[in-house]
Amino acid sequence: MVKRMSRGARAALFAPLDQTGRVEAVTRRLVDAVTLGLLADAEQLPSESELAAQLGVSTVTVREALVALRQLGLVETRRGRGGGSFVRAPADSPAAPWRERLRAVSLTDLRDVGDHYTAVAGSAARLAAERSSAEDLARLELAAEDIRTATGPAASRAERHFHLEVAAAAQSPRLTHQELQLQGEQGGLLWLPIGHPEDPEVAHTVHRAIVTAIASRDGELARKLTEEHILDAIDRLAAVHLELLGP
């Protein structure tokens, strides 16, 4: 079942744009529409020429914006009869109905994602302890501070960014890539601030401890702390899942 967005939202989406930074503006507007759920998953976009006419830009501009959306994995283009560009709702959209997704998830799958994620993020933390230069450590420290003041979507961004920095400090493109993929697993539920300990200080303390372990080249401790941090997040999700199922 494909939900259509409201008329008002659709009108705003397709209102003409200024001529400045058109590709980027078109891209941003479409990205926002998809990530905020204004365009439903699997919904077909108007044709390039229709979009161009509605937005008041050239088809070349629309085409470039669609390339960007495809690169972001937010749009899929199918060729041939019944072809066109289709929305692919992002896994970790903040406004996506996480309750439904968390209710639908199975604890078996959640555990499996947790196993995979701890394997990747734990190894990344261990390697980061071996391979972080002073520069890497400075960036890790900055990333660890971000969560202190963050709430809502900013908190989930700070979590994801912190673990991304650890993977990058491991000097591994593959682990970094896997980290990014796993962050989107189960609809990006993992780092949503759901059932989070009220206090961002808790997450901040854990991130600081991981950075300290990396700085002192204690790979095993960095791995252990990272694994526990992820298992805590999985536990929280499991608890909320059970709550949603009700008694």
Binding site: Q19, R28, D32, E64, S133, Q171, L180
Partner: protein
């Protein structure tokens, strides 16, 4: 005349220095184009960065797989962050990079924390970042060459009346740099039954003839960052020699087993 005698490793040093200087020299026309753009338009807008497209695409050849201009925050009149960056897609067609530039977005990653941005900003000098995982652009293991651009607002009279306006830069993949340099490195290691590596100023291995001293690992036997700050051209120990590759922030490390 010690200098006229050739030393082992001369070829490697000359090649690396040649690659590095070639890439920095290649950035000069783009740098000039950015300076002209900033001087011409009183208030530069994000859309006007499109005018840099010819100079950017011109750079995409040889080892260079990505290039462009990254604006300092608030340089542009109409948005806080902005850039014009193109990469050579595997198909060989240049593709423009789009990432979220909206600090409020879920996907925003702050590029002003990246060394390729901060070092030229803070030192006023050219810089090579990496090897590092470029998660903002290609997700590949990368070396990024950047030059500071002056001519922005926020003019500081003490800095000669020229504010920092951003950086122009070029990316190369570490694996391509390896393809270019490993042959000579290997020849060097074979001659001396040694292992040879190219390392950056932080002591991070870029290319090595030994899997035990892998790309991305840090050399711990020597304090390379400390040695680097001494400004010495080379270091000789009984089992180890370290030599700068010209003015490049890359050194040749040869270790006998």
């Amino acid at each position: 005349m010690n200098d006229s005698r050739s030393r082992p490793g001369d070829e490697v040093v000359a090649q690396v220095s040649g690659i590095v200087e070639g890439i920095f020299a290649g950035l000069k026309p783009l740098l000039a184009a950015v300076e002209t753009l900033l001087a011409d338009s009183g208030e530069t807008t994000a859309a006007e960065l499109d005018r840099l497209h010819p100079q950017v695409v011109e750079l995409l050849e040889g080892l260079v797989i990505g290039a462009g201009f990254i604006a300092a925050p608030r340089l542009l009149a109409d948005q806080q962050f902005g850039f014009q960056w193109w990469t050579n897609a595997p198909s060989g067609t240049p593709t423009q990079l789009f990432i979220s530039l909206d600090p409020g977005s879920e996907y925003f990653l702050d590029y002003t924390r990246q060394s390729w941005f901060t070092v030229p900003r803070d030192t006023g000098r050219r810089h090579i970042t990496g090897p590092y995982v470029d998660y903002l652009c290609t997700d590949e293991y990368t070396l990024t060459f950047t030059l500071p651009v002056l001519g922005g607002p926020g003019t500081d009279p003490a800095a000669g009346g020229q504010g920092f306006a951003g950086v122009v830069g070029a990316d190369i993949f570490v694996r391509e740099f390896e393809h270019a340099t490993l042959g000579r490195l290997h020849a060097l290691a074979v001659d001396r039954s040694a292992r040879a590596a190219l390392v950056n100023a932080q002591g991070r291995v870029i290319v090595s003839t030994s899997a035990r001293q892998a790309t991305g690992s840090l050399v711990r036997e020597l304090d390379i960052p400390a040695w680097w700050t001494t400004g010495e051209e080379s270091l000789a120990r009984p089992d180890t020699t370290l030599r700068r590759c010209g003015d490049a922030p890359i050194a040749l490390l040869v270790t006998t087993r």
